[in-house]
C-alpha cells in the first residue's frame, strides 16, 4: 500500500508540475526572449479559466470551453502586446513591472465587473468524473490523468517547435542574444507577437484545465504566478527545458512536502507541535528549494545566456 501512495503522490506531483510548466514556459519565453517582466501572465491564465467556464456553461461542452479559452486568450494576448507591451520594451524592468501590474488590476476589476465577485463553477466533463484503475490496487481520477496527458503532450509539442522549427530557432536566438539575432535578420517584432500570443494560449490551457480542480475566481492568477516565477528562477530564465525541469521539481516537492512531512513530524514530536510545524514547513519547502538552487547555481539549472 505504501507503494501505491508513492505512485499516487507522484502522479499528483507530475500533474501539478505539468500545469505549472504550461504557465512558466510562456513566462520564461517572454522574459528570456522579449526581456519583459510580465506580471499580467497570471491574469491571462485567469482569463482563460473564465472564458472556458463561460463557454462550457453555455455550450455544455468542456472541450469547446478549452478551445474557446485558447483562442480568446491568445487574441487578448496579441492586443495587450500591441497596445501596452510594445511601448515598454525599451524601458527598464521597473516600468514594465508597473505597467503589467496595472494590467493585473485592470483584468481583476474587469473580471469582477463581467463575471461578478463569486467564483464560477467549471465542472469536470461527466465522462471523466469517475475514477479509473491505473494499477491493480490503485484508482485515480480520470480527469487528472487527462490533464496529465494534455500537459505532457503540449510539453513535447513545445519542444518540437522550439528545437525543430525556424520559429523556434529565432526564439532561441532571441533568448540567447537579442541584439545579435536582430542583426542577423530575425524579424524580432513578429517573433515577439507570436511568442506572447503563444504564452497567452499556454496559460489559457492551464487555466481551463485547472478550473475544475481549483476554482475560477478573481485573483486566481496571482497565487499561481508566484509559483511560476519560482519555477523559472529555478530552471533558468529563458530556458524551456529549465522551466520543465523546474516545474516538475516544484510540483513533486510541493506535493511530497504536503503528503509526507506532517506524518513524518508526527512521528518525531507531539501531535500539537507537528500539526503546527508540518503544514508551515511544507508550504515553504519550494522556497527553500529555490534558495538552495540560487545558492548553488545563481543562473538557474539551465542558464541560456553565457
Amino acid at each position: 500500500m505504501a507503494g501505491g501512495l508513492v505512485v499516487e503522490q507522484l502522479l499528483n506531483g507530475l500533474q501539478f508540475g505539468l500545469m505549472l510548466f504550461l504557465l512558466s514556459a510562456g513566462l520564461t519565453l517572454v522574459l528570456g526572449v522579449m526581456d519583459v517582466v510580465n506580471l499580467a501572465h497570471g491574469s491571462l491564465y485567469m482569463l482563460g479559466a473564465y472564458v472556458a467556464a463561460t463557454v462550457a456553461g453555455a455550450t455544455g461542452s468542456f472541450w469547446a470551453g478549452v478551445g474557446a479559452a485558447v483562442v480568446a486568450t491568445a487574441a487578448v494576448g496579441l492586443v495587450v502586446e500591441a497596445t501596452v507591451l510594445r511601448r515598454v520594451y525599451p524601458r527598464d524592468h521597473l516600468t514594465q513591472v508597473l505597467a503589467t501590474f496595472a494590467l493585473i488590476l485592470v483584468f481583476n476589476e474587469g473580471a469582477r465587473i463581467v463575471w461578478g465577485p463569486q467564483a464560477l463553477l467549471l465542472s469536470v466533463p461527466p465522462e471523466l468524473s469517475r475514477p479509473v484503475a491505473v494499477l491493480p490496487n490503485l484508482t485515480y481520477s480520470a480527469y487528472r490523468l487527462v490533464v496529465l496527458g494534455v500537459g505532457a503532450g503540449l510539453a513535447v509539442l513545445l519542444f518540437l517547435v522550439i528545437h525543430r522549427t525556424r520559429l523556434g530557432m529565432w526564439v532561441r536566438a532571441g533568448a540567447s542574444n537579442r541584439a545579435m539575432a536582430r542583426a542577423m535578420g530575425v524579424p524580432i517584432q513578429q517573433v515577439f507577437a507570436v511568442v506572447f500570443a503563444l504564452s497567452a494560449a499556454l496559460s489559457a490551457v492551464a487555466g481551463a484545465l485547472l478550473g475544475p480542480i481549483l476554482a475560477v475566481q478573481v485573483g486566481m492568477g496571482e497565487d499561481i504566478l508566484i509559483l511560476a516565477f519560482v519555477v523559472i528562477v529555478i530552471g533558468g530564465i529563458g530556458s524551456v527545458k529549465g522551466s520543465l525541469v523546474g516545474a516538475l521539481l516544484v510540483g513533486t516537492v510541493d506535493t511530497a512536502g504536503r503528503a509526507f512531512l506532517p506524518p513524518l513530524f508526527a512521528q518525531l514530536m507531539s501531535p500539537e507541535a507537528a500539526s503546527n510545524l508540518g503544514p508551515a514547513l511544507a508550504s515553504v519547502l519550494i522556497y527553500l528549494l529555490m534558495a538552495v538552487v540560487l545558492f548553488v547555481r545563481p543562473q538557474g539549472l539551465f542558464p541560456v545566456r553565457a
Binding site: A2, Q9, Q15, F16, R112, V124, L138, Y140, A259
Partner: protein
C-alpha cells in the same frame, strides 16, 4: 439694492436655521450597522448567504430594529484580516457605526475584535465563533447567535462515536476555526484518529491529502472545509472513488445548499450536523425558508438562517433597552436570556454563545430530483460549549 439682498440672505439663513432643529427632532435616530463580510472569492457564498438572510429579516421587520430605522453599511473583507481591519476602522471612525456584524472567518474576526471591543461597540456574530472569545477572553461586547466553532464538530464526533467507527482520518484548514473544529470532533470521538491533517486555508487541490486517506484506510473521514474548499474537497473525494469506500462525515458547513449546488449528486447519502434545518417546525423558520426561496431563488444554507437570526437578536435586544445601545448590560442580557429565532427559542451561556439542539441531517435526492438536506434526528439537546466555565463575565 444692497439692503434688499442682505434681507433676502437673512431670511434664507433664518429659514435654514429653523429647519435644522426641526429635522433633528422629528426624524428618529438611524441605527447604523456595519456589516463586514466575505463577499468575494472562495468564501463569498457564505457571506452572501448571511447578508441575504440579514436583509430578509430587516424586510420582515419593516427596515427597523428595536423601533429604529436601520442603515446597513456593507464592506467586503475579501477573507483578508488586513482588509477587514481597515474596513472596521473606517466603519467605526468615519461612519460611526453603532453596531457591527457579518464576519464569516474566525481569523478575520480575531484580527478586528480588539478594535471593535476597544471602541465600546457591540459585535453580534452571525458566524465566526472562535474558542478564544468563549473562554477567558470572553467580552461584554461580543455575542454569537449561531454556535461556538467547536459545536457542530462535537456533534459529528459524537455521531462517529455512536456509529462505532474504530478509526478516523480528520482534516481541516490551518486557521483558528479549523483547529477548533478538530478539537471539537476529538472531544466526543473516542476512536483512534489515524491522522489529523491541517491544510493551508484556501487550498483547493486536495490530491495529496486524498492519496494519504486512501493509504491510511480509515473507517471514516471527517473533513471541515467551508465554501469553495468544501466544494473542491468533496468533488475530488468523489472523483477519486473514495465515496463508496470510506464514509465521509461532514459538518453542516461543508454539506449545505451552497456546497450541494456545486457538487450535486455525488453528495447524496452524506451525513452532516447542524444547529438548523430547513424543516425545523416553527413559524419563524417557515416564513424565513419560504420567503428566502422566493426572494433569492435558491435554497437557504445554514449561514442564511444565521444572518436572519442575527437581525432578530439585535431587534430583540434593542426593544428591551428602547433603542438605547448605551445600556450595554441590559442589551446583552436581554439577548442572553433568550430570543425567538429560526431554531425556536435560543438561550445563551454567560460567554455569549448559545445553548441549543444539534441535529443530524442527510443529503438526499427528493422525488423531483432536487438534492437537499433532510433532517434525520437530534444528536445533542440543550448543548453548550466547553469554554463557558472559563468566562468571568457575570
Amino acid at each position: 439694492m444692497k439692503v434688499k439682498r442682505t434681507a433676502v440672505v437673512c431670511v434664507l439663513l433664518a429659514a435654514v436655521l429653523s429647519l435644522v432643529p426641526w429635522q433633528a427632532r422629528s426624524q428618529p435616530r438611524t441605527l447604523r450597522i456595519g456589516f463586514v463580510s466575505t463577499l468575494s472569492g472562495g468564501g463569498a457564498a457564505l457571506g452572501v448567504d448571511v447578508l441575504d438572510g440579514f436583509n430578509l429579516a430587516l424586510r420582515h421587520l419593516g427596515n427597523r430594529l428595536g423601533g429604529l430605522p436601520v442603515e446597513v453599511l456593507t464592506a467586503d473583507d475579501q477573507q483578508n484580516p488586513d482588509v477587514a481591519r481597515s474596513a472596521v476602522e473606517r466603519l467605526l471612525r468615519r461612519d460611526r457605526a453603532d453596531l457591527l456584524t457579518g464576519i464569516i472567518f474566525s481569523n478575520v474576526l480575531l484580527a478586528v475584535g480588539d478594535l471593535v471591543f476597544g471602541s465600546g461597540v457591540f459585535y453580534i456574530s452571525p458566524n465566526a465563533g472562535p474558542s478564544e472569545y468563549a473562554g477567558s477572553q470572553c467580552n461584554l461586547h461580543f455575542l454569537n447567535v449561531a454556535w461556538q466553532n467547536d459545536n457542530l464538530h462535537e456533534a459529528m464526533g459524537h455521531y462517529a462515536q455512536l456509529k462505532r467507527y474504530e478509526t478516523a482520518f480528520i482534516l481541516a484548514p490551518n486557521y483558528p476555526a479549523g483547529r477548533d473544529a478538530l478539537t471539537g470532533f476529538k472531544r466526543f470521538y473516542k476512536g483512534q484518529v489515524v491522522s489529523e491533517v491541517y491544510t493551508r486555508l484556501g487550498q483547493l487541490d486536495y490530491s495529496a491529502e486524498i492519496a494519504q486517506i486512501r493509504a491510511a484506510r480509515p473507517r471514516a473521514v471527517y473533513a471541515f472545509y467551508p465554501g469553495a474548499m468544501g466544494v473542491n474537497f468533496i468533488k475530488q473525494y468523489a472523483e477519486a472513488g473514495l465515496m463508496q469506500q470510506v464514509p465521509l462525515l461532514l459538518p453542516g458547513f461543508s454539506a449545505d445548499a451552497d456546497v450541494i449546488r456545486a457538487v450535486g449528486k455525488p453528495m447524496v447519502g452524506v451525513f452532516n450536523s447542524s444547529h438548523w434545518a430547513l424543516e425545523l417546525f416553527n413559524p419563524i423558520n417557515r416564513r424565513f425558508v419560504e420567503d428566502f426561496r422566493r426572494s433569492y431563488n435558491r435554497v437557504p444554507a445554514l449561514y442564511a438562517s444565521q444572518g436572519y437570526d442575527a437581525a432578530l437578536a439585535i431587534d430583540h435586544g434593542l426593544r428591551a433597552v428602547g433603542g438605547d445601545l448605551s445600556r450595554k448590560a441590559e442589551f446583552r442580557n436581554a439577548i442572553l436570556s433568550g430570543f425567538d429565532s429560526t431554531r425556536g427559542r435560543v438561550r445563551f451561556n454567560r460567554n455569549g454563545y448559545p445553548i441549543q439542539n444539534y441535529y443530524l441531517r442527510q443529503v438526499v435526492e427528493s422525488a423531483n430530483g432536487e438534492v437537499v438536506n433532510r433532517l434525520v434526528g437530534t444528536i445533542f439537546r440543550n448543548h453548550g460549549d466547553a469554554y463557558a466555565s472559563q468566562c468571568r463575565l457575570r
